[in-house]
């Protein structure tokens, strides 16, 4: 005898099935599907074909997702009741598909596209990828040698990167705290893993993965703790609900402030802001360079996007409470990043510190919290978007060059070994010099316009002392970028000079694209800046 239990009690309220706007989410869904498909390929495709299939799948998927992003972007409507924002909140309030989201989707997809080309580079290691053949084999063991002998490769890196990409796309678009947390983890976990997969210097790589994971796990935990406190304050996870509560509630401020601070720890860790930056140099140095490039560009976009949405939409009403914290962090980040970079002797570490300094510059734009006026002046959101574009391409280009400057033991990241590169290969050294100048913010490179945009947004937002500090930090930063140029062009190589390996079309294409973008955005930044500007504000 069977009694369905539901009949015996009063009927529960019916639960509607959620409506999902698949069209608006299609870029995300495409990438997620490709990632899952990649897992299937690992399981079923013959080993010999996997690398080709995975590469094609990843690149094809990203291209399709890009097309979908453009389609979604063209279809954005003006949000009701808001003059600046375009787009809408979909998937039961979980995801906001608005101008900034779509812009960042396009951006991370582009970064992922060029990074995948770096992932696919196999010419530099004699027909093998830059990833270890057998991650589980202890470094230096017989098992490892055997894996090399059998020319085994980890083609899982492609689906892993795709999963990370899903996280990167979802993180800045998440419209409630839970989705945001899930996205944070989806973005982080594959990256932790990817960091430990370098083919050369494996101990360094594994150490970096472990550090990144441990510290990242801690800051994710803080983020989650912050979510709990904010939920306790607002009684809801939706950013809009939180905004309502922040504006209307007057008690429970301690809960809100502690929650904001805890969540800030989480996102600031991801962007590498001081004092949560310590992982950056170790991880950037240890991770396979292609992963570093992907991570440096993509994670920054995702994390800054989420930071903007979180602090502008949810905590916008409490900006007087969080801005002092951002001031301090921004100043610390710029100063520490710029000063510490001066002494670096390793190119990858130098780039890591430079990324810290740049995080500081972007934070200046965020801290300005300038929402724009009627005239065409640039807002915090659009300036940060533009800066991320600029920085991402230059960074990927710089790391791409790091992968091709090599000696017998792999990449030569010792700065002193780069002496005389200008003579060895004027084109490569010239491209690297261009990226350095862009990082330094010299006019006619994209870096100048980027800096100018964030500084002017911050200025309009009243954060002028920050701008002054930022310019001073730029001076210090410029000195070490220049030092690299001096080393490459004006220093005699000691012993045998560096050599530039001939990469496949993939890496060459990445470098060329990065150079073109860096110059183009320096000379005619108008269209991209307009695009960032027209991305407008966040929907609520």
């Amino acid at each position: 005898m069977i009694h369905p239990l539901l009949v015996s009690a009063s009927a529960p309220p019916p639960i509607d099935s959620p409506t999902i706007q698949y069209g608006d989410l299609s870029p995300l869904l495409v990438v997620a599907a490709v990632a899952l498909l990649g897992v299937m390929v690992e399981a079923f495709a013959p080993r010999a074909l996997r690398f080709t299939i995975q590469t094609a799948l990843a690149i094809g998927g990203i291209v399709v997702a890009l097309a979908a992003t453009v389609w979604v972007g063209l279809g954005l409507d003006r949000a009701s009741g808001d003059v600046l924002a375009r787009g809408r909140v979909v998937a039961e309030g979980a995801v906001a598909v608005d101008g900034p989201s779509v812009f960042m989707w396009g951006l991370v997809l582009l970064f992922a596209l060029v990074s995948m080309l770096l992932f696919a580079e196999r010419r530099l290691e004699g027909g093998l990828s830059a990833f270890t053949g057998q991650a589980a084999a202890p470094p230096g063991s017989a098992m490892e040698r055997e894996a090399v002998e059998h020319r085994i490769e980890h083609t899982e890196v492609f689906p892993l990167a795709m999963f990370a990409l899903v996280g990167m796309m979802l993180f800045p678009a998440a419209n409630d705290l839970l989705t945001m947390f899930v996205a944070l983890e989806v973005l982080s976990l594959p990256l932790y893993l990817l960091c430990g997969l370098a083919r050369r210097r494996r101990l360094l790589s594994q150490e970096s993965a472990m550090k990144y994971f441990l510290l990242g796990a801690f800051s994710s935990a803080f983020f989650a703790y912050g979510i709990a406190l904010v939920y306790g304050f607002a009684g809801g996870f939706g950013l809009g609900d939180i905004d309502q509560a922040v504006s209307n509630r007057i008690d429970g401020q301690n809960l809100l402030l502690a929650g904001i601070a805890l969540m800030a720890v989480g996102v600031m860790f991801k962007v590498g802001a001081v004092p949560f930056h310590a992982w950056t140099p170790d991880v950037y140095q240890g991770a396979p360079t292609a992963v570093t490039a992907f991570m440096a560009a993509g994670t920054k976009v995702a994390a800054f996007g989420a930071m903007l949405r979180l602090f502008f939409v949810a905590f916008g009403g409490a900006s007087w409470d969080w801005r002092p914290m951002f001031w301090v962090v921004a100043i610390l980040t710029m100063v520490v990043g710029a000063v510490a970079a001066v002494t670096q002797s390793d190119v990858k570490r130098m780039l890591a510190y430079s990324s810290i300094a740049h995080a500081g510059f972007i934070l200046v734009g965020v801290t300005g919290a300038f929402v724009g006026t009627r005239d065409a002046s640039v807002t915090s959101v659009s300036s940060v978007l533009f800066y991320l574009t600029v920085y991402g391409f230059s960074t990927i280009g710089a790391f791409a060059i790091v992968t091709i400057v090599r000696d017998a033991s792999g990449e030569t990241t010792q700065l002193s070994r780069w002496a005389g590169l200008g003579r060895e290969s004027p084109l490569v050294a010239g491209a690297f010099a261009l990226f350095m100048l862009a990082f330094a913010g010299i006019p006619l490179t994209s870096g100048f316009i980027g800096k100018w945009a964030v500084f002017s947004a911050a200025w309009s937002g009243g954060a002028w002392p920050l701008v002054v500090v930022a310019v001073l930090a730029s001076v210090v930063a410029a000195s070490f970028y220049v030092r690299v140029i001096v080393t490459m062009f004006f220093t005699e190589p000691t012993g045998e000079g560096p050599s530039v390996a001939v990469p496949s079309m993939a890496t060459t294409a990445v470098i060329v694209v990065a150079v073109v973008v860096t110059v183009l955005l320096g000379v005619v930044p108008g269209p991209v800046l307009d695009l960032a500007q027209s991305a407008g504000a966040f929907v609520r």
Binding site: D321, L472, S479
Partner: protein, 961 residues
Amino acid sequence: MLLLVAIHLVAAAVAPALTRLMDRRAFLVLALVPAGSLAWILAQTSTVTGPDARAVEQVTPWVPALDLELAFSLGTLSWFLAVLVTGVGALVLVYCAWYFRPGDPEIWRFSAVLTGFAGSMLGLVLSEDFLLLFVFWELTTVFSYLLVGHNPERKANRRAAMNALIVTTFGGLAMLVGIIVLGQRVGTYRIADIVAAEPSGAAVTAAIALILVGAVSKSALVPFHFWLPGAMAAPTPVSAYLHAAAMVKAGIFLVALLAPAFADTPLWRPSLLVLGVLTMLVGGLRALRQHDVKLLLAYGTVSQLGFLMAIVGLGTRNAALAGVAMICAHALFKAALFMVVGIVDRSCGTRDLRQLTGLARRMPVLLVVTVLAAASMAGIPPLTGFVAKETVFAAFEEVARTGDGTGLPSWAGWLVLAGLVVGSLLTVAYSLRFVWGVFADKDGAELPREPDAIPAGFLAPAAVLAVLSLVVGFLGRPWTTLVEGYSTAFPAGEHEEYLALWHGFELPLLLSAVAVAGGVVLHLQRYRTEVLQAQFTRLPDAERGYQWGMRGVDRLAVEVTGATQRGSLPLYLGTIVLALVLVPGFALVRQFDGLGDVVAWQHPAQAVVAVIMAVAAIAAVRSRKRLKAVILVGVAGYGMAVMFVLHGAPDLGLTQVLVETVTLVIFLLVLRRLPAYFSDRPLTIARWWRVAIGVAAGVAVGGFALAASGARTLPPVSEAFAREAYDFGGGENVVNVTLVDIRAWDTMGELSVLVVAATGVASLIFLITGRTGRVRPDEAIDHPSRWLRAGRTLSEERRSVVFEIVTRLVFHMIMVFSLFLVFSGHNEPGGGFAGGLIAGLALMVRYLAGGRHELDEAAPVDAGHLLGLGLVIATLSALAPLAFGGEVLQSAVVDGTLPVLGYVKLVTSLFFDFGVYLVVVGLMLDVLRSLGGGIDRGAEAEAEDDDPSSVPDAAPAEGIS
């Protein structure tokens, strides 16, 4: 005008190809570019100069969103500068065609950079938008860096180039801040609008000060003067261009541009006059000390720049006239003199005046050119330099006598004038030193080699400039008219000055005479002055300050990195945690609004347990032994279980105890392979810091929890659970019903995660754990009749008979008990999770008593099968209600009377729970096989490696699966 600049840049782009095609003759073609620009600019003369001057403007939008536009304008001042930039530029390019040797491999780069440099300098003087001006300003910095570092083999060049770059970039960025302040203040970046607006206030003063820092550093004034002599490491044509018309003139140009609006800003005149005079004196004195004639000229430039800055910065109508005149004069003679040095250097192979001798006879034409230019520099009539200098003196005399609208006190005017006269005296002296040094016959001096003949084309540019120095001197009247477009921007003074060779016997003439006479005397006494100067070499030196600064930054960088970036994970984590304590902790304390209703304890025993837990936690942190730490952590965990029980949650308590036990055992299994101590090093201070940070973090997190629980505004959702668990879930154990019914979807997800995690753990720790196929009958076990058959595989000393027998006795009972928990879990404490853990513990006991072979005996199944089966059961039981028209995971009650057992009531979620049970058992089996058996096998394999004779049956080394 955009076109002019663009043509330069295009020419720079094609220059390398051009040099490849026609070698050094390419410079002649390139010279057409500035020459053509010059022609265009000259064609505008009547419009943009003179009393009715009107600027020619041209605006192209660039980045509208950032208010960046390509706005160019040609006014009187920029007309003068543009003429110099293009004219001298063209001559320098012509000069290059002879300066470089045929087939020089580096000129492809040089030609491009020099042309680009000329283009950006032209852009700078034509910019109407302040930001555009900054763009070109930085471009000239970069290009000049490349030019100065042209000869990269020499370390001195590299350092000089680096200095030039850092100093001017620093100045440029300071200027950028000033520009932004000014632009934001006025609301536009158009220079003409800003000058017209004449803003004032503290912010504007600061902005102007920053812009002046930029100008002063670019124009190599004290204290930034050291970069310019260093930069003369560049090829001579570059020096000629850089010192005469480009780069250093940018600062002067900027000051002249802003003077009409900002000369009355508080800082303006004092700083520019003091720095200008000081620079003039320092540069002059230094010039007298040099033996390298090029260096002599470089210091001469420093001196002249000080002079120029003082007059341009004065900001009166007379000063404006004098300033523009002096800029022109200086460009003409300085470019010519540098070209002379280049010619001498090229033909004689040396620039050392102690080696140069007898050139007057061998190079008479060159002597004439040099004398003309040097005389202009010294201010000898009737040359341009004299005319300009006279007017400068007159302008300052006016200020000293009447103030001339500057508000400067009379004494200050006289003091500056005196300084300038002394400076001029020095100028005369080093001019003489130059001419004497290059051409005079000297005893004991010997040329390194016989000088070559000078080609006419090589000499021509210098000759043109020298002749111009002479001719322009006679054109005082039209010259004055030309400048009026600029000078009328200043208020008219009492006394209108004009440019002329003869003003009558007035004070300026007297001063000029004094300067010339003094200079001649100083030159005649040159040995004595050299000795005197040698006494003062230890004077504080700006360059040393700069070096200190740079080294300081380096040092700071090393210290900061050393302190924060040791690669130590505890340090990194400590930093993050500290920030957590400080920032959110601060937020918590700041907004502290009372503890609310805090109940200390419901039962005194809770306090006792809390104390025990705290003590255990502290002791765990303090312990150096891993084992001790693990056990103490376990104590804290058991304490938690007791807390649950005391709070009236037996189910939670049970689960907590089980989890704690399993964790403890797993820890111990792993610890077998780890060193006994965390660290062999003695306790350090750092460790106490870590303890302190840990305590602080604990307090902070506790504080958050307290705040969170005190902030409740709505009734907790759990209040409704008890009722709904019974009504909808058909069970009395709320926890269990929550897991298998109310939140069954959650559990479903967790189950999948658990399966993945178990598989992951197993395959991560050991590539293989016997999961690839059926568990094989173990040939190591040969006594079928014994209890714990595999116990024989252990060595004697590891065996314990009592343990083995007890294990054998209780194992089945525990297994039955675990099943009991599953079945009773719906109403009593227990459930699939707890049951699974208990079964896992039973297996663990078997393993501990009999080793890894015993584990295979006890559970002759593949853990993967258990995991999969569990997942399948859970899924099927979740889907089953669909077949009966229900919803996924809906529960139903089956009851009835069974023959033996009597009345039985069964809730269908039991099947789901059974899936959970199997998954947990599978997980435990996996963990035991990998962390237990796997580690054992690793140890055996190692022992075998050490001693091949022992343990013959050890598993073969694993290959790649």
